[in-house]
C-alpha cells in the first residue's frame, strides 16, 4: 500500500506539476484512502492518460477515486477508452466531456457495477440485429438508444442493471425494440407526419412513444418469446390503471400503430408513466433524413440500370416491383421485363419495403439527369490525388486502427489509408534486369516450372485408375516362382494442386533510396518471372507514409491483373517516398488476402529497416508493437506472414515481429534479387 507521500510524488510527476503549479494534494489524499489495488489502477491510468494530454489525466485523477467505488475496473477502462477515442477523433474538449459525463454510464448507484461495454459486444449485436432484420445495419454510440432505420445508436456502456448478464439482456432488448420500431410500423407514423400537426408535437411524440412501447412489447412477446421472458425480468415500470387498459388493447395481435394514435388524445389527459428501461427514443428528423436519402439513392441506381439496358432512349422506362409475400422475394421489372437487381438495389428495395409495406410508385421513377448527388453514396471513391491537394481529408479513405502499446489497446480509425497507383515508367529497366540476370532467370524458370502442378504417377498402389504393368509382371513372376502375389499392382495419378495466393508488400520509404530501391525492383522482376512460371496468384503493393494522416499503399500489381507491360512499367516506376509506418499496410494486405479464395495465403514483406515515422512516437517500440500486432491479426485470420529485411540489425527485432524461422535477414542489398525467389520456393514446397 502506497502512502500519501509516494502517491503525491507520483501524481506530481505524471501531471507535470512543476509547470502547472497545480496543487494535487487533494487528489492524492482521495487516492490514498482507496484500497491498494484501486490506487495502482488509478495511478497507472493517470500515467497513461498523461501521454495523451495532462488535462485529461488530471480530470481523470480527480474523478477516479469516487468512480472507483461505483464501477468495476473493466468499466472504468471502457470509460477512459471512450474518452481517449473522443480525444483521438475530436480533440481535448470532447475527451473532457466524456469524462465529465461519467454519471451517465452508471444510471443507478450500484457498488462496483458490472456493465456491458458496447465495443466488446459489437460483433454479436450487429449479427443479432442482422438476423432479426435481414439486412446489415450500422452501429454507433449515443446517449440514448435510437435508430434512423439504418444505424443503431446505443449507449457505449450499459450499466443500468446490477450484473453483466442483465445488462446484456437490456442491450438485446434495446436492439429488439429498435428493430420492432421498423418492423411493426412505429416509424411509419413518424415519417408520414401524423404527429406534426399536433399543438404540442414533442409531448405528443413522448406519449405516442410510450404507447408504442406497450404495443411493441406485445409484438416482441409473440415474435421473440424467449427474449421477452428475460425482458419481463428486468422490466421496472409500473402502469396506472388507465394505462393498463391501453396495454390490453395494444397487445392484441391485430393492433397497429394506428391504435396507439387513436389512444393518444385520451392518454394525453393523464400523466405519462415512467418508461421501462428498454424504451428507446424516437427521432423523427433522423428517420425523415434517412428515408429521403434512400429514395434519392434508389432512384439514382434505377436510372443507372435504365441506362445500362439498351433500348429506345426517348420512351421513359417504367420500373415495377413484383413482391412475393410468401417468400419475401422481390422481382424488379423494367418495361415488363424481369431484371435481376444488384445487391445494393435489393437492399434498398427491402428497406423501402420495410418502411412502407410496399414500394410507392414515386420511388420507382428513375432519377433524371442532374439529380445525382454522389455524397449520398457511402461507398463512393474519391480521386486520391485530388484529395491530397486540399487539407488532409479523411473522406474516401479507408481508416485502420493502430495498436497503442502504452494504452494496451487499439486507437480506432487512426490511420488514414489510401490506395494509389505507381506511375508507369517505361525506361527499359525490366529488360536490363532480365539481361543482367539472364542466367539466373533461366534457372528460376526451370526450377519453378518444375514445381508447377506436380502431377506424379504414383506406382505400386493398392488402388488406382491404371494397372502398373511393371508391378504386375513382377507379381506374376513372383507367383510363378511360388511366392505370394503382391497387392500393390495399380498406378494412380496424384495431382498436387497449388492453391496459393501471395501478396508482396514492399518498403517504399525514403531510406530505400539508391541501392535498396534498385535491389527491390530487380527482386520483384525476378520474383514475377518465377511466379508466372509457377502459376501462383500474386499481388505487389508498396507502402510508405508520413504521419497517421497520410498512409499510402501503392498498387503495383493487383491479384487480378496480368503481368503485362503496364505492371512491368509500374515496377520500374517504384520510387522512394516517405517513412515506414507499417501496421496499416499489413492490415490492408490482410483484408485483400482474406478476399482471396486460396488454400494458402502468404504475406511477404520486404523492408530495409525497422518501422518508423516522422515526428510522432511510431519510432522504436511503439512501431514495432503495432507491426507485431498487425502480423498477429494476419496469423489469426489464417495468413502466413514472412519478413525479408535488408538490415543487419534486423536480427534484434525480427524474431519478435515474425516469430522464429519466419524471416530472413539479407546482409547486402545486392543479394536480394538473387535470394528472393529461392526464399519463396522454400516457403511453398
Amino acid at each position: 500500500m502506497s502512502d500519501f507521500g509516494t502517491i503525491l510524488k507520483e501524481l506530481e510527476r505524471f501531471l507535470e506539476v512543476e509547470f502547472s503549479m497545480r496543487d494535487v494534494s487533494g487528489i492524492a489524499k482521495d487516492i490514498a484512502a482507496l484500497p491498494p489495488k484501486d490506487q495502482d489502477f488509478i495511478l497507472n491510468w493517470t500515467q497513461r492518460l498523461s501521454a495523451a494530454h495532462v488535462q485529461i489525466a488530471t480530470l481523470f485523477a480527480t474523478l477516479a477515486p469516487e468512480v472507483a467505488r461505483r464501477m468495476d475496473q473493466r468499466l472504468i477502462e471502457a470509460w477512459v477508452m471512450q474518452s481517449l477515442d473522443a480525444h483521438d477523433r475530436n480533440g481535448l474538449q470532447a475527451a473532457v466531456k466524456v469524462l465529465r459525463e461519467v454519471d451517465r454510464f452508471i444510471e443507478q448507484d450500484h457498488e462496483h457495477a458490472a456493465g456491458i461495454v458496447l465495443e466488446d459486444v459489437r460483433g454479436i449485436i450487429l449479427t443479432f440485429a442482422c438476423g432479426l432484420s435481414g439486412r446489415r445495419l450500422f452501429l454507433d454510440t449515443s446517449d440514448e438508444a435510437w435508430t434512423d432505420g439504418e444505424t443503431l445508436h446505443l449507449p457505449a456502456i450499459i450499466a443500468r442493471m446490477e450484473n453483466a448478464a442483465d445488462n446484456f439482456v437490456l442491450c438485446k432488448a434495446l436492439v429488439a425494440m429498435l428493430w420492432a420500431q421498423g418492423r411493426f410500423g412505429t416509424m411509419r407514423v413518424l415519417f408520414e407526419g401524423m404527429l406534426k400537426d399536433h399543438p404540442d408535437p414533442m409531448r405528443a411524440l413522448a406519449f405516442f412513444n410510450r404507447l408504442e412501447t406497450l404495443r411493441l412489447e406485445a409484438c416482441i412477446s409473440r415474435e421473440l418469446p424467449g427474449l421477452f421472458r428475460d425482458m419481463l425480468r428486468i422490466k421496472d415500470d409500473v402502469l396506472p390503471e388507465t394505462w393498463q387498459a391501453y396495454a390490453v388493447r395494444l397487445s392484441h395481435p391485430d393492433a397497429t400503430s394506428m391504435d396507439s394514435l387513436s389512444l393518444l388524445p385520451d392518454a394525453l389527459q393523464s400523466d405519462i408513466p415512467d418508461p421501462p428501461c428498454y424504451q428507446c427514443k424516437l427521432d423523427t428528423d433522423a428517420i425523415m433524413k434517412r428515408i429521403a436519402e434512400e429514395n434519392a439513392k434508389l432512384r439514382v441506381k434505377l436510372s443507372e440500370i435504365a441506362r445500362s439496358i439498351p433500348g429506345p432512349n426517348e420512351s421513359p422506362k417504367k420500373f415495377e416491383v413484383a413482391h412475393d409475400r410468401a417468400s419475401g422475394e422481390m422481382e424488379l421489372m423494367l418495361d415488363d421485363m424481369p431484371i435481376a437487381p444488384p445487391e445494393d438495389v435489393r437492399q434498398l428495395l427491402s428497406s423501402v419495403m420495410l418502411d412502407f409495406g410496399e414500394i410507392p410508385p414515386e420511388y420507382l421513377v428513375a432519377a433524371g439527369p442532374g439529380e445525382y448527388d454522389p455524397t449520398l453514396d457511402r461507398a463512393v471513391q474519391k480521386d486520391p490525388e485530388q484529395v491530397w491537394q486540399g487539407t488532409y481529408h479523411e473522406e474516401g479513405a479507408t481508416l485502420y486502427p493502430e495498436w497503442d502499446m502504452g494504452r494496451g489497446s487499439y486507437r480506432k480509425n487512426w490511420c488514414v489509408m489510401r490506395e494509389r497507383d505507381v506511375p508507369a515508367i517505361h525506361d527499359g529497366f525490366i529488360e536490363m534486369t532480365l539481361a543482367k540476370h539472364s542466367q539466373l532467370v533461366r534457372q528460376i524458370r526451370r526450377t519453378f516450372e518444375g514445381m508447377r502442378d506436380e502431377d506424379r504417377l504414383l506406382k505400386r498402389q493398392p488402388q488406382g485408375e491404371h494397372i502398373d504393368l511393371d508391378a504386375l509382371i513382377e507379381a506374376l513372376s513372383d507367383v510363378n516362382a511360388g511366392s505370394e502375389m503382391s497387392e500393390l499392382l495399380y498406378a494412380r495419378l496424384y495431382r498436387a494442386e497449388r492453391n496459393i495466393a501471395v501478396a508482396f508488400l514492399v518498403d517504399m520509404s525514403g531510406s530505400t533510396k539508391g541501392w535498396v530501391n534498385d535491389a527491390e525492383r530487380e527482386a520483384l522482376v525476378l520474383m514475377s518471372e518465377a511466379l508466372e512460371a509457377l502459376g501462383d496468384r500474386y499481388a505487389i503493393y508498396g507502402f510508405s507514409g508520413m504521419t497517421r494522416k497520410k498512409c499510402e499503399l501503392f498498387r503495383i500489381k493487383r491479384f487480378d491483373e496480368p503481368y503485362g507491360d503496364e505492371v512491368k512499367a509500374r515496377i520500374s516506376g517504384i520510387r522512394p517516398q516517405d517513412y515506414t509506418r507499417m501496421g496499416f499496410a499489413i492490415r490492408h494486405m490482410n483484408a485483400l488476402l482474406k478476399e482471396m479464395d486460396a488454400k494458402t495465403r502468404i504475406l511477404i514483406t520486404i523492408t530495409d529497416g525497422r518501422p518508423e515515422d516522422y515526428n510522432d512516437n511510431y519510432r522504436g517500440g511503439y512501431g514495432i508493437a503495432d507491426t507485431r500486432q498487425a502480423l498477429t491479426e494476419a496469423r489469426r485470420s489464417g495468413i502466413h506472414p514472412f519478413g525479408i529485411t535488408i538490415d543487419k540489425e534486423g536480427r534484434d527485432y525480427l524474431p519478435h515481429l515474425y516469430g522464429p524461422a519466419h524471416y530472413v535477414v539479407i546482409d547486402e542489398a545486392r543479394l536480394l534479387p538473387l535470394k528472393v525467389a529461392e526464399i519463396y520456393r522454400r516457403l511453398t514446397v
Partner: protein, 272 residues
C-alpha cells in the same frame, strides 16, 4: 472367381419404400416431362433444401433404380467410368457407377457436380446431349443409354468461389430447376413430419432458420437448411431442450466464429 467377359458390373436396385417428399412447386411435373423426353436435369439450390430427397422420390415414382455419386475434388473420370482390376492374375473390368447406371437404365444422380475434377466432363457431355452415349476408352466400348436412363446433376450456386462455377458448355445441356427453402408453412410441415415435434416448436424452428438465412453474407456462408431443422427437431423430440438442440444441430454446424456463434445463440434464446 473370374466373371464371364471379364466384366464386373453393379445392378442397382429399385427403391422399396416411398421416400417422403413434399413438393413445393411444379418440380415433379417438370422432372417427369424431362424424363419422358430423355433430357438430363440440373438441380440448383443451397445445401440441405431437399435436392437429394427429391431425386430419390422421383426414382421411386418413375420406378427406376437410383445411383447416387457424391462428387468430391478427387473424383476422376475413371472413378465414374470404371477401371481394370487384377483378379487371379487376370484383368477384369469393373464398371464405375455411371456406366452401371447407363447399362441398367437407372437414374444417375451426380451430387455437387462442380466438386468433381474437370476431366469428368469428358464423359458427361456426350451422355447429356442427344447422343446419349458413354465411351469407355480403355475397353474401346461405346455404351448407348437406354430410354429409361436419366442423368441428374446438382450444384449449389451459392459458393462464392469462381472455381466452383459451372461452365456454360456443361450447364447448357441440362433442364434446370431451382430449389429454394420451402415456404414457412410447408417447411414447418416437413420438419414436423420428419421429426415428430409439435407445430409451434416447428414454426419457431423455421423462424429461427429464417433469421440465420438473414445472416448469409454477413457472417455466415449459408443459412440453416431444412435438413438442419429436421436434425434439431429430432433432438427436441428425443428430449433435448430447444436451446440445446438449436445450439448443437444448427448453430455449431453453421459456424466456428465465436462472435457469429454467440449472436446465433442469442437469436435462438430470443425465440425459445
Amino acid at each position: 472367381m473370374i466373371p464371364p467377359d471379364n466384366l464386373l458390373t453393379l445392378s442397382p436396385q429399385r427403391m422399396a419404400e416411398e421416400p417422403y417428399y413434399q413438393a413445393t412447386g411444379g418440380e415433379v411435373e417438370l422432372f417427369e416431362a424431362a424424363y419422358r423426353n430423355h433430357l438430363p436435369m440440373l438441380l440448383k439450390g443451397p445445401t440441405g433444401c431437399g435436392k437429394t430427397r427429391f431425386v430419390e422420390y422421383m426414382a421411386w415414382r418413375l420406378k427406376r433404380p437410383l445411383v447416387t455419386v457424391a462428387c468430391h475434388d478427387d473424383l476422376t473420370a475413371s472413378d465414374l467410368v470404371g477401371r481394370y482390376l487384377i483378379i487371379g492374375g487376370q484383368t477384369v473390368w469393373m464398371d464405375g457407377p455411371l456406366v452401371a447406371a447407363v447399362r441398367s437404365g437407372a437414374i444417375c444422380y451426380l451430387d455437387e457436380i462442380v466438386e468433381a475434377r474437370k476431366d469428368t466432363m469428358v464423359v458427361i457431355h456426350p451422355l447429356a446431349d442427344d447422343r446419349r452415349i458413354l465411351t469407355i476408352e480403355k475397353r474401346g466400348e461405346v455404351v448407348h443409354a437406354p430410354d429409361e436412363f436419366m442423368l441428374v446433376v446438382s450444384y449449389n450456386p451459392g459458393y462464392q468461389s469462381v472455381l466452383k462455377e459451372m461452365k456454360q458448355s456443361t450447364r447448357q445441356r441440362f433442364v434446370a430447376c431451382e430449389f429454394g427453402y420451402p415456404d414457412p408453412a410447408i417447411e414447418a410441415g416437413i420438419v414436423m413430419r420428419e421429426s415428430g415435434i409439435k407445430p409451434e416448436v416447428a414454426a419457431n424452428l423455421v423462424k429461427f432458420a429464417a433469421m440465420t438465412r438473414n445472416l448469409k453474407g454477413n457472417g455466415l456462408e449459408e443459412g440453416a437448411s431444412t435438413r438442419l431443422l429436421v436434425h434439431a427437431g429430432q433432438l427436441i423430440a428425443s428430449g433435448l431442450t430447444p436451446a440445446d438442440a438449436c445450439r448443437s444441430a444448427i448453430a455449431e454446424a453453421l459456424t466456428d466464429d465465436a462472435d457469429t456463434l454467440a449472436a446465433i445463440l442469442e437469436l435462438s434464446s430470443s425465440l425459445f
